[in-house]
Subunit: 358 residues, 4 copies
């Protein structure tokens, strides 16, 4: 349950870390979007393991196969099925985990919920699940690109080390040293990303329950390891006075502008046209090589040193996943907004292609 | 759009700040729950304005009328309509706002989205909307109470002043002084709450998109003014190593226990049986009496000093709303979990009352 | 559960036959639609009891009160709450039904499901529930009217007596005699309606599961007493050859036309621009004055002669309800279609009012 | 859009007739259900083409591959992805259809909606789409089998020829002769099926909009070619008096029984424990070899004789699809019913496995 996301542009994902394949079905993509397998390469490479000193050495080409929904390189409005085969499976790495509850992991909660779990590499709870999100995000971002909307996430912090805008965390000596120190110790480190959205027109979002901020919060907090999220000034706003925190308005050159952006581009749940700014904090990856005390499913206390191939830090590979989730939320809210007013509806119907009017 | 919340236990809310009434329709409440109008009094009073030195002086009795869904003081499974009349309406207080865009408010974004807005006291964007949430939350909390699950939110901070567990913010001299200082200056102050859930069994929640944490994040971030949210160790976890952050397991007295609770009671999106701990930060209320620069909808730059009756701080009245939203999420996840395994389904069917088997 | 209908334009209804009020909340209505209480009068009168020799004599003015969602007589995009008070309640008429299971009614199934029922006039299972549908339908039909789409339902048969297009069933001597004969015998009679939709452009609907025909079938079969539904040639098509049943195409005067309309205006789940034609059959109303054998909830076999005020035939008052349900489905499918193609999306965004672009 | 079905047990399907593969993702299947690839063979063979004189000669093994969601032959609660490769693709058969609008088909409406269509064998609109429904139905039926609920659909009529219960339509001389006559004439014939459900306990379903009958109507009317549906006495009830149509109740041997089943097992939208009986009528398949007049997308009137491999009648292969759709609806309604009463919820929680209580 809970593997389908979105209201109009909907994504159903499937697949376990060491099963034959993972993938997704996208329902509600408009017809007429150019889409081919090569479109996925760049984002899949950003997320793929094996591409960095500071990531799991598992080697997955993560080639995306389009099984349906396009004709002649263009989407048809039919559901788009995307398939990614798991090539570098090593389920035997996990034989010693069948009975052990890994600290920090979903092993215990999956057992409590389902009475059964696929222990091979975390099964469905593995970060490998996010490859399907990234693939779906490529389609969402292609739609947004046509509307001149851009999303970019970047590593904002490795542990206590902040990474400046435009800086590569791997080139930041303190950050690199921190990660290497953790790796040497068989440990891992927490991290944070900043995700920014530019070009979104004002008026996108929904009041009350489905606020744009609320839906983005759900989408981003659903990424494994997410521990906290802030919009705009975030928790800093919780310490301020309104006289310093309120974003005012001013007319300049015939256009209305905000005098500040503490709201982070969303006011009362609806975009205001300014840049949307979100910070997302991740706990350190739970799988570490160092020995930890823990318990088994059958009543024993034990020690575990986790084998397998794991990331020392979440943020670097999570950037593309965060972009994907944000993109899916934005596409949904844009589509939901098409019937916001009678004027919009009437203009849309009048814009139907001539063929459809006959 | 976006005024309906939940999957199985669903709440549709309606109503503007200065319209005749606000309320909600609850669909999916089980039959057999004792429910009468008096059940709402305590929580409605916690949220109501006019009950504190540090809250809006608007006087609303917030009496909840049950229009449907009960028979003989017990729910029947039919939708429960709850109605709260707006008694202390003063729409004329807002005449000067018809053309002015209040800084920090949804005036601009509502106009951008809908091309029209009910400017009287914020209309649908008013905090008055949360009275309907609180009413729905009473029903959700009554269900949880029968399952021995408790939710409690408390003020955690007023500006930079932290409020200890068990402490009344209004009795904290520094916090009270800070609020009073803001009120005297025609200003307002940011704040934070902590919401804790006890008694939830492990196994409640859903992996991947609808993680319990993700759904709680959406629910709580949908409360007006919310700027950030953390689960468990939250952003602090983003600075830690796994060796200090991982929650281990240990068998004690025949029961499995966690050795820490940095995860805040949710692992991989599913409850682990430990206390769920959430921190929610609020910006300062946007409506302040002090003069601010801003713009009008028709191209003028202007000044505004906002009249009307407003809160100097969000957290105190938001506690009951946060509890309500969390309760609605929990009821949904508990109900969704009833079909988690074939064993649960078969046992449930076997437990159908004899009458239904004939 | 199951009291909320629709995907984008959503309607939540509530209320029992002899409770204080019934009504609905409409979420997703576009802003900018003129709407006032007087708009509801005509359709509410068509559905109301007490207006015909051949309907229940219960006298309900069925005045609709708008509690929210409009400002200055125009919708704002906020949820529209509509309230209808039950004026002519006579719950005591039903005291003898607390333990008796009325033949043909939901008494037994409600007890099996919920273990409790509001026996006063059928409670939630009463046809009175449809007043809320009719009220919501008025809003949906106002939206469709602006798009030049018309829905009209008419009585097609009273028992075996067919009513011609344009004929008033009450003026058809055979039909009137049949109803009067049933009424005199303390009995009731089955009936049918035909619902037609004109002006719907081609291209509205969805393939596979949410076909326009499938969604209309659900909507109309959800009306109490519905026993069967046909689209276009319906069951007659099930006896034909394709050579006589296929609707061909032909270009005439620069427009593409169908050479027949056996499909009833829907091909492969999507509108083709021709008139949509639906036939809906209703069983005879279950509540009759004649004595029937039946059982009690506590193990007795008994006789019952049902008091209260009841209709001798469903079709006449169901026409407006069928129109309402069809209208809600159409509005949803039209809104869902606004993102069918990238061209539509891009044109819609370009059509956003200038204000929203700033 | 519209390719996802269900509320708790949800099915997302994908795939075109002549693309590389079709399939589905099932979200919400309980853990602990034995499931392996061989389970699909029987139902896939019932639906597959090429297995009968009276079906399309296209040869598809329709082997179902399980990509995810099981571990050791048992479902884990994770989404179940099912893949069926298209083996006998002949897209070139359809080259002459790129511009021609086939009579009775979705060609025109897909173009009107999407401005593009995959013309190869009907693309997404092909009956091949139903293979994914049948596969999902196998899983749903396995769940129902454990609850002792059985669904069986059978051919009820070929054109005007009725097929008796227990009779094989292919052995009915008149029916076989009718089909052969149509095939010889390059024509096709309408048909009907009857679908019956046994063993469903009373109390399953939902009042008002999501009546069990309404949801079944949507599910079955979403099958391509469906033209009409009846429940129980159906349209015959529309001609009867209540005194002959009402199902009464009687206590016999300590159990409550119905004295008739004109309601077809569903009263007021909720199952009453009696056999559910549904009749579904199909139009004749639109693709016929005989020459028909029609139009092209670019303004020409033309003739078409449809090549490719097509069925002369829908009912025989549709039985398993109808069973699948009905099964999915039932599983959803059973799962939705698990929280119908507080007693059910409390008993379910008390039945949670001991592990989950710790």
């Amino acid at each position: 349950m809970g593997n389908i996301f979105g209201e109009i542009f909907r994504v159903a994902t499937f697949g376990e870390s060491h099963g034959p394949a993972i993938g997704c079905v996208i329902d509600g993509c408009p017809a007429g979007l150019a889409l081919e397998a090569a479109d996925f390469a760049a984002d899949m490479a950003r997320r793929a393991p094996g591409n960095s000193t500071y990531a799991s050495p598992r080697k997955e080409p993560d080639t995306v196969e389009i099984l349906s929904g396009t004709f002649g390189g263009v989407t048809t409005g039919a559901p788009i099925a995307l398939l990614i085969h798991n090539r570098d499976r090593r389920p035997d790495d996990y034989d010693n985990l069948a009975r052990v509850l890994r600290p920090g992991h979903g092993d215990f909660t999956y057992m409590a919920k389902y009475g059964i779990r696929d222990h091979r590499g975390g099964g469905r709870a593995s970060a490998r699940e996010t490859a399907a999100r990234a693939a779906a995000g490529v389609v969402a971002k292609k739609i947004l690109a046509q509307l001149k909307i851009e999303i970019a996430a970047r590593v904002a912090a490795i542990g206590h080390i902040e990474i400046a805008r435009g800086e590569d965390f791997a080139q930041n000596k303190a950050a690199a040293a921190l990660i290497e120190d953790c790796m040497a110790a068989g440990d891992s480190i927490g991290s944070a990303i900043i995700c920014e959205i530019c070009g979104l027109p004002p008026g996108i979002g929904v009041p009350v329950f489905d606020k744009l901020s609320a839906d983005l919060a759900k989408a981003l907090m659903s990424i494994g390891g997410a521990a906290g999220i802030e919009f705009g000034a975030g928790f800093a706003a919780a310490t301020r006075r309104a006289s310093e925190n309120n974003d005012g308005f001013i007319w300049q050159g015939g256009e209305i502008c905000k005098t500040a952006n503490n709201a982070g581009g969303i006011m009362a749940g609806i975009s205001d046209g300014a840049k949307i700014r979100i910070k997302l904090g991740f706990k350190p990856p739970s799988s570490i090589a160092a020995t930890q005390n823990t318990a088994t499913t059958d009543g024993q206390n034990t020690e575990i040193a986790i084998k397998g191939r794991h990331d020392p830090v979440i943020a670097p590979r999570a950037c593309v996943v965060a972009e994907a989730m944000a993109a899916i939320v934005l596409v949904n809210h844009i589509f939901r907004g098409l019937s916001d007013t009678m004027d919009k509806v009437k203009a849309a119907i009048a814009n139907f292609p001539p063929y459809a009017k006959q």
